[in-house]
Symmetry: C2
């Protein structure tokens, strides 16, 4: 997938980069990307967007006309011209650690760490945050929708309601990682090699003088794949008509009304006419809560098409992630960095997240420790080096492999964290060494200046 | 701005296109894009995204490798090969009418109409909906934030929390139309020729051993544009330090804590130290409600940086827009199309929206009528032909002109529709002729089949 280049960043990343280059061009910084808090109703998060993030890191460039644009900005009028020559040659030269895409993660846990000269690491902030938080938010939402559907397939119909066309593409990918079976977005299918699916719309039915003509025509063009939209006029009549118009009809779709009630009546009609093979697809502003209700009511729906609510994560449309400087390294040595303010502590230094599992294989406890701490006999270290000296350490996994891995990860989430509403909190603790370092840095900071209240 | 090409569409648009080409290649369809209902708390909507929509319409293409991809999909296995040759040559040949970007609009009102051979018009649906609804949603949200700030400038800091990098770009553009002064997104500045702005982040301050070093360094690199972030350690100490470190400091930014209270104290410090010229910028999860509260409390804030809430339109993150077939034309004549279901009536035929103003110049009433009805002496017709036979009828207006026009449009919104909460409903009525046509079509439809209850 093409990206937008190095200029897709906040202006302050570039002003800071200019400052770093003047005052500390040799200093390396380590930044960590993590989520501050779970959005409401969520008991866990599913990581997505790492592939696009790493592609961006290893390939962003400033184009000559972009540098001309920057040179013309008044704010840069007093910056030395060498800075723009530096940007022209800028390549990412650092190291990156990340959790695998599809990993279950929690607030406070770094999912991506960037260690590089300060300017390089800084300008990545905007892109990394928007890419990783958006895809993770959608993958998480999708996993909830898929759970609610209990084994019934869910497909992504959300492109038209996404936040622009690229968001539609990324949401298709992220919802696939979260467990949906396919997307309606054709470019997503081609770009990410994921299954595509589709039926027909009311406009198809309306473009013919009668519903019968419309159904017969669709069956004729797609004899092996005909799923007919039956609610343009009268859903139950539509179901009867669908049976009459084709032996090869695979399914019917209901897109309005009381889906549970209509699905039951349509199922009766199909079965009584000897067509138990015809599947029922339901769509219409669905989310995990509505699907959960329908499944509990025993609605005979074989597939759910989910759109708006999933691709915008409508009940939690943003994820409060940050990208924080935790350490610098220069000729003067390593300096650990903390930020202290009420409810917002950033722990110092580069970290590792170690996960332990209970006897049933479900999540037991995560420990956020210092990067150099050993994970211990039964601990699984979640962060791995994925970029070294500006190069990927290995090819990206196939998206289908990411999805399978995510499926296994989601299976490790205990029931108490899976509740659609009122989920419990998972135990994430800090290692003794990390707590000690925080105390030391806090003391040092108190000596220098009182921290923010 | 580059777009994603013709494959960024829902699969069913292409299956329907294949069907249209087989059964009615000569039939023209007219589709109208409109919003079904106002999102909560909104009394009006601001139109945005038309430029990108029209660029897409007049330039979308299928690439050879995209057609190869389609040919390989099982669903197209029984579609005649001529269909893919048709797609390879497909260019938009039809006409488009639209409201100007920046226009105030309401539910039920078509903002864009596409009249073209059915296949051409159909496949545009997904892209047009995602582009126009997203930008309109953000422009609307921005206009509310700007109103709440009463003349104090608002700037867009939201890129990192947008739904991916392209959504960040589009949100910057849309929020500018809605009235913000500038964006932090550099690529948006270059692409859309809009002002950019930025300060510095906590990482800048933390990368130095002391806050004082960090402030002096920033003042040194940006002597004419230094806005210092003063809340890394202690906001009030930060304010005193900012004064000490530079005569040229332009402003200070507060990004945490009780912004109202802190702004008052910081203002006192700045004024008592003889620096009434230093401006106070506030940011930190702001939205129109919080800004309204702060302005009412008399917080001495000179500029608001708004991010997440604006670029995701967080309290209403989607807009229920549809793209409906309202008319077909073929050798057999014109057929009007309606869709009848409970609460969801689509009126037949291509329409015009005529606006009337009260004596004070504010909105009085909109009438949705048939396209051929005369607007009347005091009526303003909002829909204009913008594409004819596949070509733009005129160049796009400059974005600054769109913003000025939107500003004038927003000025026509009466107070009762501007309330941040509990806004009243605006009067949108249908013309007598259009109501009559609906009755006729309803009768005709009843003869053929009972409409959906």
């Amino acid at each position: 997938m093409p990206h937008h280049g190095a200029l897709l960043t906040d202006l302050y990343e570039l002003t800071m980069a200019a400052g770093y280059q003047r005052f500390k061009p040799e200093t390396q910084g380590t930044f960590e990307l993590f989520v501050r808090a779970l959005p409401k109703q969520r008991g866990y998060l599913v990581l997505a967007g790492i592939e696009q993030a790493l592609d961006y890191i290893t390939s962003f460039r400033f184009k000559p006309e972009e540098l001309d644009y920057l040179r013309q900005q008044p704010i840069f009028s007093r910056v030395e011209p060498e800075f723009f020559d530096y940007l022209a040659e800028m390549r990412f030269t650092g190291d990156v650690w990340a959790m695998q895409e599809g990993t279950i993660f929690f607030p406070g846990e770094p999912v991506l760490q960037v260690q590089a000269p300060l300017a390089e690491a800084q300008i990545l902030e905007t892109y990394l945050l928007s890419m990783i938080t958006f895809q993770s938010m959608v993958a998480t939402k999708a996993s909830r929708v898929v759970m609610a559907a209990r084994k019934r397939p869910v497909v992504d119909f959300g492109s038209r309601r996404a936040h622009g066309p690229e968001a539609a593409l990324l949401a298709a990918r992220a919802s696939y990682i979260g467990g949906v079976q396919a997307t309606s977005n054709v470019l997503a299918g081609k770009t990410f090699e994921m299954p595509i699916t589709g039926t027909c719309a009311h406009s198809w039915v309306q473009s013919f003088d009668t519903e019968e003509e419309a159904f017969r025509a669709f069956n004729d063009v797609f004899p092996d794949h005909s799923i007919l939209l039956i609610d343009t006029y009268d859903t139950l009549e539509g179901a009867r008509l669908a049976i009459r118009t084709g032996k090869n009809v695979k399914g019917v779709r209901i897109d309005s009304g009381d889906l549970s009630r209509l699905a039951k009546k349509v199922r009766q009609i199909l079965d009584s006419e000897g067509r138990p093979d015809i599947q029922i697809v339901a769509s219409s502003d669905l989310d995990e809560y509505k699907i959960d209700d329908m499944v509990r009511e025993g609605a005979p729906i074989d597939m759910f098409g989910v759109g708006t609510e999933m691709v915008t994560s409508a009940d939690a449309p943003s994820l409060g992630a940050v990208y924080k400087l935790v350490q610098t390294e220069s000729a003067e040595g390593v300096r650990l960095k903390i930020k202290l303010s009420r409810n917002k502590v950033t722990y110092p230094g580069r970290k590792q997240v170690v996960r332990r599992y209970g006897t049933s294989g479900t999540l037991y406890q995560d420990v956020i420790g210092c990067a150099e701490e050993a994970p211990g006999r039964d601990g699984r270290a979640l962060l791995e080096k994925v970029v070294e000296n500006g190069e990927l350490t290995r090819p990206h996994p196939e998206l289908s492999a990411v999805r399978s891995y995510a499926d296994k990860e989601i299976a490790t989430v205990p029931d108490r964290l899976r509740k659609l509403r009122g989920s419990q909190e998972y135990q994430v603790v800090y290692s003794a060494l990390l707590e000690q370092r925080l105390r030391e840095e806090r003391r040092r900071s108190h000596h220098e200046r009182d921290p923010q209240d």
